[in-house]
């Protein structure tokens, strides 16, 4: 029976069997979920199709969110990248803007994959589509990489949380970015150790991020945080692939993130009672916001 509850167990499994993280997660799924390789591949390929379609829709723009706070940002970044050149380079610009576009699709009631949540659904498609366009990976490789990302997200759900109401934005977009960073490392030929180092580095650099959506809606600042989460994932993948190590093991990093999350005040955990949600301009933008009725 293939099962692991910690990153340390995952690593030793990868070492013993000489397999990547994606394969360890696939074997676990086959063993524990009464399923088979074909079914997993088909289901994950369907999720990948939805992600790519959301990126495509988002890039085109032309819609307005339900709350009216966002819409058209990804298209603006595309135009700027193509006409003036991206200040952060094509790769990061694409990843960030694709992530923003998916959040626009999400906020206008389009189809997305919660990965791990709807509020953080832009990060993985953003990073993955930018990588595929730049390096020409096949769809099968991207689907495998999603299994790697799934392993990191699973460890976070098993040992900490991915709910903004419990752990703040660091638990949602922070974990999404850690998942993307780890998968990017495997795609680029890195080792399981380097994947976990990238994931841990991502959590460390997004530690303490609060969840304070304007009007309680999944729009702002969520959209921009998806963009910077995608960029963060790429920077941490780059560091790990270069041999720069994260000093704190991933298991410890998850516990750190969890503890910090629970010490974030209630007002800053998805309640829209504090942070940006309670700024005077935020209250003007959404007359029904919880913070604005006080």
């Amino acid at each position: 029976m293939i099962q692991f509850y910690t990153a340390a167990q995952l690593l030793s499994l990868c070492k013993d069997m000489n397999i990547p993280i994606s394969e360890a997660m696939t074997l676990r799924e086959i063993d524990l979920m009464e399923t088979n390789l074909e079914t997993i591949k088909r289901r994950m390929a369907h999720s990948w199709d939805i992600m790519k379609e959301a990126v495509r829709e988002g890039r085109e723009g032309g819609f307005r969110s339900m709350g009216g706070l966002i819409g058209g940002e990804a298209a603006k970044m595309k135009t700027h990248r193509e006409e003036a050149g991206a200040v952060c380079g094509d790769m990061v610009s694409k990843a960030a803007s694709y992530a923003m576009g998916v959040l626009e699709v999400n906020a206008s009631m389009g189809l997305i994959v919660a990965a791990p949540t709807a509020g953080s659904s832009g990060v993985i498609p953003g990073v993955f589509c930018a990588l595929q366009e730049t390096y020409g990976f096949a769809d099968e490789q991207m689907v495998e990489a999603l299994m790697n990302a799934g392993a990191i997200g699973y460890l976070a759900m098993q040992n900490a949380t991915v709910a903004g109401a419990e752990g703040g934005c660091q638990a949602e977009i922070g974990v999404a970015a850690a998942m993307a960073a780890s998968a990017a490392v495997e795609l680029m030929g890195g080792t399981p150790e380097q994947s976990l180092s990238a994931a841990g580095g991502t959590l460390a650099t997004m530690l303490g991020l609060v969840c304070d959506p304007i009007g309680g809606l999944v729009e702002a600042p969520c959209q921009k945080r998806n963009a910077t989460g995608a960029a963060n994932a790429l920077v941490n993948a780059e560091m790990a692939l270069s041999g720069v190590q994260t000093l704190i093991p991933f298991d410890e990093m998850l516990q750190v993130m969890y503890r910090v999350g629970r010490s974030i005040p209630y007002e800053l955990r998805e309640t829209a009672l504090g942070g940006i949600a309670s700024a005077p301009t935020a209250c003007e933008l959404c007359k029904n916001g919880a913070a604005c009725k006080k």
Partner: protein, 222 residues
Amino acid sequence: MQLISVFDVIGPNMIGPSSSHTAGALRIALMARKIVDKPIKDVTFILYGSFARTYHGHGTDRALLAGILGYDTEDKRIRESFRYAQEAGITFRFQPDTQETDVHPNTARILITDADGDLHNIMGESVGGGKARIREVDGLEVDINGDMPTMIIVHHDEPGVIARITDRLYLENINIAFIDLSRKNRNGEAVVVMELDSPVEEDVIRRLKKVPAVRKVIMLEF
């Protein structure tokens, strides 16, 4: 703790913007539709807590109505559910209740009139990550999440009813994973909710409906 699948992490596939306010809301209404199990004519949604305050911006209203129409969380028609409901001849309204605080933050009470004119009163909660549970059916307390094949049997409270039902299931080699009983009062209306390891065939349900004191048998599967 329940086993976490990779598709709990990369998923659900859903119409946005919020797993709890959109996908979870839809699941409440979809379960309500299956519990009613008859064509629906009229629906009133009473919204509590965070649902009451932010339902419009989260599309909670469209998602609830989409559940009544039988759509799943991936269905692109959710956005246009108002129009589809009108076309289906279903009348509906939403009533936010911001006064009531003694409820789960994401709660909806759904009052449904079916084609026969019968009224159903179902209350559910969206509990996060797109998951939901039904907590009340026509005044009877229940706990239904729809993760496993679930059988709901409304019956008259008297000795031997459960024995006759479980005996039927035993004869069909159906294993009960979880069982929960609730009643309004002694000798009154009662409900038994059973989560089963395998789904139940139509003819078994027909036979269960003939068990004395049994009033209604509903099979929920997702």
